[in-house]
Each structure stands twice: as C-alpha cells, then as structure tokens.
C-alpha cells in the first residue's frame, strides 16, 4: 500500500492548511458576533448606491459625521 505514503501526507497537509485557516478566522474576529452575522446577510446594504463613482466628487454621508 505504497499509495498511502502519498495520500496520508496530502490529507495531513490539507488538514494543517484547514487548521491554519481556522486559527486565522479565530484571530481575525470572524466569530465575535455570530448572531449579527446571521442577521446581516438578510439586511439590505445601508443607504442607496452612490453614483457616479468618482471618489473625489462624493459628499460625505450625513450619518458619518
């Protein structure tokens, strides 16, 4: 079963990659507000779209002040 010398290391490497990504997501604060994350996907984005999309011409929004 020499194939296992290939498949097991590949599986382990994939698990380690998954572990690293999981730790990143923890450190990144991905799981800080789970209830909010579940709700926000249902909400519409705040405010209508800003057009035209020239940053220099866009006025600051009232809510930002």
């Amino acid at each position: 079963m020499t194939i296992l010398y290939l498949l097991i290391p590949i599986s382990l490497v994939m698990s380690v990659v998954a572990l690293i990504v999981f730790l990143w997501s923890l450190r990144n604060g991905q799981y800080e507000d789970l209830a909010g994350a579940a709700e926000r996907v249902l909400l519409d984005p705040p405010g209508p779209p800003v057009r035209p999309m020239h940053p220099e011409r866009v006025e600051p929004r009232k809510s930002d002040t």
Partner: protein, 550 residues
C-alpha cells in the same frame, strides 16, 4: 454582455481566446486520426466563435463608470441558463440509460450509444454540467452579496464559467467517442484534466480577490463552504488524474498508479468529490438561499460554522468505504468506516439547522414551492447522509455493495438533495438577477416540485427494493450449500424495478424541462421591476465596512 467589458478587457479576452484557438489547432494537427483531433476542432469552434463575437464588438463604446455601482451579474445569468440546459441533457441521458437497463435494445446497435458511453454522459452532465455550473453561478452571486462588493474584474468570471463549460463539452463529446480513463467521475483524459486545473486555479484566485474587496468584515458561512469546494476539488483532481499520456497526439493515458493503489486513489478522489463537490458546495447554496427565501436568519449560526469545520476535518478519509472486502488492507477499510460514521454529526447538524431555521416559517413552506424545494432538500440531505454512514459499516456493506441499493443511495443524494436545493436556489435567484417581481408561473414551480419529489421517491424506493432483493438473492444458499439463484435469476427479478426507476427519472426530467421553460419565460415575459437595494457598498466612497458590534 460584451459591451459591458472595457476596451482593455476586450483585448485581454481576445488574446486569451486567440491562444486557446491556437491550442485547438495544435490539438487538431497533433491528434490527426485520433479523438484528440476531433477535440481540437471542438476547441477551435468554441474559442473561435467567442473570438469573433468579442472581436465584432471590439470598438463598441466603453461602458460607463456607473457599472461599479452594481454587482456584476452577467456571468451568473449565463451560468444559470447553461446549468438548466445541462440539466435537461444530463437528465435525459439518465432516463435513457435507465431505460437501457430495462430494455437493452434501446441502444440501436450504435457504438456511441452503449451503456458504458452514455452513462458517464449522464453522470458528468448532471454533476458537472448542471451542478457545477449552478455552483459557479451561485457562488458569483453569493460572494458579491455577502461581501457587498463587486467582482474584482470582468474577465476572470467569464474565463471560469466558459472555461469550465469547454471542459464539460470536451468531456461529454469524448465519452461518445470512447475517450475515458475509466475512473468514475474522473473519466476525461489528460488534456481536459490539465485545462480544468487552469480554470480551477483562476476560480479560487477570483474568490479570494472578491473576498479581499469585501465591505463586510465577516465572511459569511456560505463562502467557507464554496471555498472548501473549490480548493479541495483542485487537490483531489490533480492527485487522481496523475497520468502519463501515451503520446502527445493521443487521447490515451496511463494512470500513475496501478491495481489497488489506483483504486484507493480513485475512491479517495471519488468520495471526496461527493463530499466537497456535491455536499460542501451545495451547503453553501443552502446556507445563503434558505435564510434569504425564508427571511429568517440561520437557526444556529454557531452550529453552521461548527459543521463546516467538522466536514472539513472528517470527510477526507471516508473514500476507502467504497473498497470494503477488497485487496485494501483491513485497517484502511475500518478507518474509512469510522470516519464515515463520524460524519453523521456535522451532516445532521447542517440538516437540522436548516429545518430549525424554517421553524416558525412553516406557513411559508406551505405556500411557497421554492422554499419547499429547499426544505425537502434538507430532509433528503439528512436521510442520505444517515444512509451513507450506515452503508459504510462493513457488515451492512457486505449486503449493499455492488447492488442497486448504492445507486438508490446516490440518487437520494443527487436528486433529493443536490438537484432540489439547486432548483430551489434557481427559483429564488432568477427574479433577483433579472430584476423581475416573481417567476413567470408559480403554478409551474408547484408542478415541478411535485414531479421532482414523486420522481425521486419512486426512483429511490425502486432501487431500495431492487438492491436489497439483489443482495439477498446473491447470498442465498440451498440445502447442498451452493448458490440458490443464478445471476440471471436476479436480473429477471430486477426488471419491474428498473421500469419503475426509468419512470421516476422521467418525472424528474419533465420537472427540469418545466424549470427551463419557466426561467426562460420569466426573462422574456415578466415585466422589469426597478432594483431595490441590491447594490454593493462602494468601497471607493466613504462607506467603510460597518463594524459588526455597532
């Protein structure tokens, strides 16, 4: 569609298409007298016609900057339509091969219509053509909406979608010519495999680039499922398709592994393809479209995250349960069985989570066939993952292996779970994408639902009966200790079930045709409705990511 590309993007598209056409010429010249040459011409026609379509519009006026204020949905729209076309083709092939088993004369004595050539056309057509395109299209939608960001450019989504379909066309036409490496769900030969790797890398990079632009700090759980699907499929695909071509001018290669080593690699790929293609990807769909349609947040978001990481860490070793009682070492079989049983936990967590989300919205499930598609999909997901764990137990497997029970199990998952969640998502997505108030006909959605459900139930019950009958007949001994039934006896006993199976599949196919018609008429007939708050947050403007806590 092409008018929405900038001048620069049109030039990039032209050079990519030109390059692919050249590769097609090389394949046609190098593979003279071989199926590879035919594939060369298919590549030339595919890329060449796109080349002229883009070239025709090369000097059309450039799109306005207003495009940045909306999501880039063109590839999603095209992907949904292509997906439905593949659904009709793939399911029609399924009905045909099912009928071939009941009435073998239906092949009309042609070489291309043998069971061995049509069956991969059915499996690849529904898994990759229908499922794959639906996954790609919905992932483009979900990654933009959940990140509230537009796709980073307008070329790579097209490259992914059309490149993937070029792979599907080369694969499907190859099967009819007898091109196969005889690995289940990995039949396409080496050049198609290499091309898929290129497409898949672009897909993953595109996903990361879109996430990097997100205006929402949290990465919604559906994205994790989609990304696991893309990344793991890439690794599996590369390892399982390691092969040496017989020559550069032929569609024939030899696997890098042999015997039981090859079988182990194949099922390590095969079952993880079920895991990450047919489960993780579609769970991404479920976790986005079900809450959206029910207008309720996921019952336990924490549980959805836990089941994601559970699937990620548990799934990778279940493949060896396909090789129980073979030359595979017993400990590897036991390992596969153990992981398969463990998998029940994250699987049922997702199924239960989906159903609990609907708790309190059952009146919507009653009234809205689209939501009912998703609900029944979650039920079938729970059923087939339980059945899968159960069948992976060696004692059960000794009865079920090599029988139609396996076929029934696969179709409970493929029709009941994968196809129903896809149709539900498509019905939820089409009015949003094309800015329509509703689908053209909710009655047709309702009819489709009942056709799909009854087709699935008839199919699965027929195969349960046939599979268990088969398994029992094969192990029944008479008084003198020899087998009581010949193989032909068991075949005769299967005949009524095979007819029932073809009928169930036929009902399912009619449903898919109705879905295509309904979507088409929605685009053509239902009046435009002004978009309502379906826009990306503009990152260039003064709208930073909304902090989660506020």
């Amino acid at each position: 569609m092409i008018q929405n590309l900038t001048g620069n993007e049109r030039r990039i598209a032209l050079s990519i298409l030109g390059l692919i056409t050249l590769v097609g010429f090389a394949m046609a010249a190098g593979g003279r007298g071989d199926p590879m040459g035919v594939h060369g011409f298919i590549v030339i026609i595919f890329a060449g016609s796109l080349f002229f379509m883009v070239g025709n519009k090369l000097y059309s006026p450039a799109p306005s900057n207003a495009r940045f204020a909306s999501y880039y949905d063109d590839p999603t729209k095209v992907g949904i339509i292509i997906s439905l076309i593949w659904a009709v083709i793939g399911m029609a092939m399924g009905v045909w091969v099912a009928s071939l088993l009941a009435w073998p004369d239906l092949r009309f004595d042609a070489a291309w219509s043998g069971f061995g050539r049509l069956r991969p056309l059915h499996t690849s057509g529904v898994i990759f053509g229908f499922g794959g395109n639906a996954l790609i299209a919905t992932s483009f939608h979900v990654m933009q909406r959940t990140g509230r960001a537009r796709l980073p450019d307008q070329i790579s989504p097209w490259f992914v979608l059309l490149g993937f379909n070029l792979f599907c066309i080369v694969a499907a036409s190859g099967y009819l010519m007898g091109v196969t490496q005889s690995k289940e769900y990995a039949e396409p030969e080496w050049y198609a495999d290499i091309w898929l790797v290129v497409v898949w890398v672009v897909y993953f990079v595109l996903y990361l680039r879109t996430l990097a632009r997100r205006n929402e700090p949290h990465i919604y759980v559906a994205n994790w499922y989609y990304m696991a699907f893309i990344l793991v499929m890439a690794v599996l695909h590369i390892v399982n398709n390691l092969a040496v071509p017989a020559s550069w001018g032929s569609a024939k290669s030899y696997s890098a592994f042999s015997g039981v080593q090859d079988a182990m690699t194949q099922w390590w790929y095969g079952h993880n393809a079920v895991a990450f293609f047919l489960t993780a990807g579609f769970l991404g769909m479920l976790y986005y479209f079900l809450p959206k349609r029910a207008e309720r947040p996921i019952y336990s978001y924490r549980l959805s995250i836990l089941s994601f990481w559970g699937i990620t860490f548990f799934y990778i070793w279940v493949g060896s349960h396909h090789l129980h009682y073979t030359a595979l070492p017993t400990w590897v079989q036991i390992l596969g069985m153990t992981f398969s049983v463990m998998l029940l936990v994250p699987s049922w967590a997702s199924a239960g989570n989906a159903l609990m989300t609907l708790n309190g919205a059952w009146h919507k499930v009653r009234d809205d066939a689209t939501l009912r598609f998703m609900m029944v999909a979650a039920v079938f997901y729970g059923l087939s993952t339980f059945e899968g764990s159960f069948m992976a137990v060696r004692a059960v497997n000794s009865l079920s292996h090599y029988t139609d029970w396996t076929v029934g199990h696969v179709h409970a998952g493929a029709m009941g779970w994968v196809a129903l969640i896809t149709f539900g998502s498509i019905y939820a997505l089409v009015p949003v994408l094309w800015r329509r108030e509703t689908m053209y006909s909710w009655q047709l959605v309702e009819v489709h639902f009942w056709l799909a459900l009854s087709g699935t139930v008839i199919y699965v019950f027929a195969m349960w009966n046939s599979g268990i009958t088969q398994g029992l007949m094969w192990r029944t001994y008479n008084e003198v200790g020899t087998l009581k039934f010949s193989f032909v006896d068991s075949l005769v006993a299967m005949h009524p079930y095979y007819i029932a199976r073809a009928f169930g599949g036929f009902l399912f196919l009619i449903g898919a045709v109705l879905a295509f018609y309904n979507v088409w008429m929605t685009i053509r007939r239902v009046p435009y409705e002004a978009p309502n708050l379906d826009y990306p947050t503009s990152s260039e403007a003064l709208e930073p990511a909304v902090p989660a806590a506020e």
